[in-house]
């Protein structure tokens, strides 16, 4: 994104044609931002104005106050924060170890193991809800935050991404450290991990946004205020009878998305580049 490359140069396009195209791009952009703009309007105005668009409409934060008090959102925020932190930490540690083994060790069955790991890219925990629920029940973990995160601790995507990165590390660095008597784990921590820092950041952003937004599995496993993440809390909140007060529901909606949205606005470039980096495989 840094260089203003233009793979479609003018090609003798007339100014009118160019203007038309710019208009099209903008129309699409406005259309794309419209739902969010609509939500912002409704959330920051009294409910009398939730569907009336007048420039002079008074601004208010009351909807956020009401939403915050109507459901234990503070607890939901805490739960989600614990969930995404736990999942990310586990994914990074387990992924780093596994990726290192796959990238730099020779052993029989390596390709088979790698294939079995990649299987998770297709068969995600998201569709194995019935069996995983039975497993959590058997383990006595139902309705715990650990149970929400556990199926995602080992991430094929993370292992794959780190393996590809580790493979680009020059072997000489590895060998040099080994000659000096460093153990495998020391080499990993001193040589590989620091060199893969941008990939860790990219993976972290993708993982956090995925698990912040995840809904179906948490809905199934969590059953109380103490474990429910924000997405499930929001769903419980907006589906129980709020008298369909859209102002409060949109305020709650914005509240739950706010950390990601603000993070995205502040670190737009990193976000986009992370998703890009994570996507190129």
């Amino acid at each position: 994104m840094s260089r203003p490359a233009s793979p479609l140069p003018a090609f003798g396009l007339s100014p009118a044609g160019r203007a038309l195209e710019t208009a099209g791009a903008w129309l699409l952009g406005l259309l794309w931002i419209l739902p969010l703009a609509y939500a912002v309007w409704t959330a920051f105005h009294p409910s009398a104005f939730s569907t009336r668009f007048e420039l002079g409409a008074p601004l208010t934060l009351q909807n956020f106050v009401n939403a915050w008090q109507a459901a234990p959102f503070a607890r939901y925020f805490l739960n989600t924060t614990m969930l995404v932190t736990m999942v990310l930490a586990a994914q990074l540690v387990l992924g780093t170890l596994a990726a290192y083994a796959l990238a730099r060790f020779e052993f029989r069955g390596r390709d088979l193991v790698f294939g079995l790991i990649l299987l998770q890219l297709m068969v995600m925990p998201d569709v194995l809800i019935v069996e995983n629920y039975a497993t959590m029940n058997a383990l006595g973990l139902r309705d715990t935050i650990v149970a929400i995160g556990l199926p995602y601790f080992a991430s094929a995507f993370g292992i794959f991404l780190l393996r590809q990165t580790f493979k680009t590390v020059p072997r000489e660095l590895d060998d040099a450290a080994r000659v000096e008597g460093a153990s495998a784990l020391q080499v990993l921590l001193k040589v590989y991990v620091p060199l893969a820092r941008p990939v860790y950041l990219a993976y972290a952003l993708v993982s956090v946004s995925y698990h912040w937004n995840n809904f179906l599995w948490p809905l199934i496993v969590s059953n109380s205020v103490e474990t429910r993440p924000l997405t499930v809390g929001l769903q419980v909140f907006s589906s129980t009878d709020q008298g369909v007060d859209w102002s409060i529901i949109t305020a709650a909606t914005l509240m739950t998305s706010a950390p990601l949205l603000i993070g995205f606005l502040l670190f737009q470039r990193q976000f986009v580049q992370s998703f890009m980096r994570a996507g190129i495989r």
Partner: protein, 291 residues
Amino acid sequence: MFRLADRVTAWLLLLPALALLVAFTHWPALATLWHSVMSTPKKGRPARFVGLDNYRGMVEDEVFWQALWNNLIFAAGTIPVSIALAISMALWVNGRIGGRGFLRLAYFTPTVLPMIAVANIWLFFYTPQYGLLEQITHGLGLPSHNWLGDKHTVLGAMIVVAIWKEAGFFMIFYLAALQGISPSLAEAAALEGASRWQYFRRVLFPLLMPTTLFVLINALINSVRMVDHIFVMTRGGPDNASTLLLYYIYQVGFSFWDSGYAAALTVVVLVILGAVAVFQFGFLERRTHYR
């Protein structure tokens, strides 16, 4: 032969991740197969082998066929449009268009928002009488319409939400690909007197093909996985017109508590994902290498 110590180290490094993967991916996938030929255990009546009974029930289950059909329409409606939009977005944002920063932001924002949250906004959007859509159509003098309450329009309304959510995400991959394409290709094409459309058709689009395949795989998986919005917007209604497969599995497994039948339905989803995998390894992997 490889050194013993190295082999042991390698397996120790792999062990934690592998154990969890087996426990929550491989084992449940196999257990699903097994449980799909078992009856649902009830109080005092443990699960017993019932052969293909669950599958027989599935063939006769109209809701299953409807969910499968809905899912096909959902995929067919979502994927081509979101890919086409993603390419346009990427071309615009990558070019010298005015307001690039805003456009990139606008296109990408839906990707970072939780589906469950945006579904609430879209629900409000579609609400009869006072929703935004209704206000617009009313302003144009069109008759009132309950988009989510009518079984002929509900799936279309969901497809629009899915396209809106996904197009900006796919744009990213095209953007990455476009930045790897040398501008001299365009210059050469322009010198040859090619039109812009010809350049896109003959040069750019073929060069973007690996990206398109990658995006296609992602889109196919998403069309199976994306069900969050159904919980907020329609709960599968009206009359199952917006039920998708995974949502139906949820209903059968966790509302009707029929785990045997839910397992059989899950097998169908696994077969679909398997077909996507075969497609991927047949087409994609020939050119992408893991080495």
